[in-house]
Symmetry: C2
Subunit: 238 residues, 2 copies
Amino acid sequence: MTNRNLLIVSTSKVHGSGYMEYIQDQVAEHFKNCKKVTFIPFARPGGISHDEYTKIASDAFDKIGVEVRGAHTFESAREAVNWADGLFTGGGNTFVLLTQLYKLGFIEHIQNAVESGKPYMGSSAGSNITGTTISTTNDMPIMYPPTFDALQLVPFNINPHYLDPDPGSKHMGETRETRIKEFHAYNDQPVVGLREGSALIVKGNDIKIFGDHSVRIFEKGKQPYEIESTENLNFLVQ
Amino acid sequence: MTNRNLLIVSTSKVHGSGYMEYIQDQVAEHFKNCKKVTFIPFARPGGISHDEYTKIASDAFDKIGVEVRGAHTFESAREAVNWADGLFTGGGNTFVLLTQLYKLGFIEHIQNAVESGKPYMGSSAGSNITGTTISTTNDMPIMYPPTFDALQLVPFNINPHYLDPDPGSKHMGETRETRIKEFHAYNDQPVVGLREGSALIVKGNDIKIFGDHSVRIFEKGKQPYEIESTENLNFLVQ
């Protein structure tokens, strides 16, 4: 994946701002050489239709002069990926998204497009699937995918909407940090916890951090640690 | 499952109390005719050993004069289930638990034991697996099970550690209620949201509610609603 050009976004909205608004300059930069972007709506947040979801993405891309078409409107996965200069996978439920990508034959075509250098952006569930597996999603497993293996565009897992433990909580459910620790009882790859408002900008083996927050890195057998947004994550791909 | 005798517990601990302490009278009542209980430790919370986890359960059952042995110490699933007068599945990760139950051949033996009238208690992940599927777990999918189909001891799903939406939250992740609504975009069975401190007492087709909280019921195509702890849930099995 030496040609990869990825924008891996934790969330499409931060509190008090519109769809992709807080990150729109970075989105414009990411797709600056693109006239046409295929939007992959299969995660279907809140059960809205693929058309309705594509309209939301399309409205956001109108502002930067990019035409958007929904992946569901093409005859095949190949056609949906080939039509565009860039790809954007929206958030929703990661299990639904991955199941549909396998069922409709998208996996290989997206991997090939990224390998060939086409810009890819994912938000939330669309970010989760860029990792090795979807095993660090926060979503409910409402659909059974044929595997948890994801697009593997990067050699680590993503945990979007990363939430720091709340020291005042009386809830006995596990904290996010505990869950990721348990992930490492059975899995080896590092996990990048992306707080809301954060994103990864991946160009080949160079990984920059977008936003003001540090990101939290979880490696098997180590204490979790922070990488400031002014630093890079190149060590994760070397 | 006309002979079923189940205690489906949301959480093993409530804030400020020890393991199973808040519900110990109900546990004693549930296992009153039992001398030996097999503890199923496979959910492995926090990656502790099966022996360590069994010790925690065993200490709690010592107080009510019941001998506890870990399911992992038997030669086979059949032997583990047949040895005991009752079964208790502890919490942890639901995906790990279900994967192990299938791999080690426990599913059918537990179902047969429950059908024959042996008392079963589950807490958290151990409650989740009593439902139709594990698709309403809150856990992270750190292991890939052969199916999401669960023990199907009751004809609905459980959502343990049910959390009401926090109106003050600025976090953009989905609320539990939104997640369960999305579950119903793809699944038909009702979901019982069990708040911490709540449990279901199931005797054949009679379902009582333990604890002070009401439970939240989610049915496909309906607004979620509350059933007070003084009422019953018999309508879910009729």
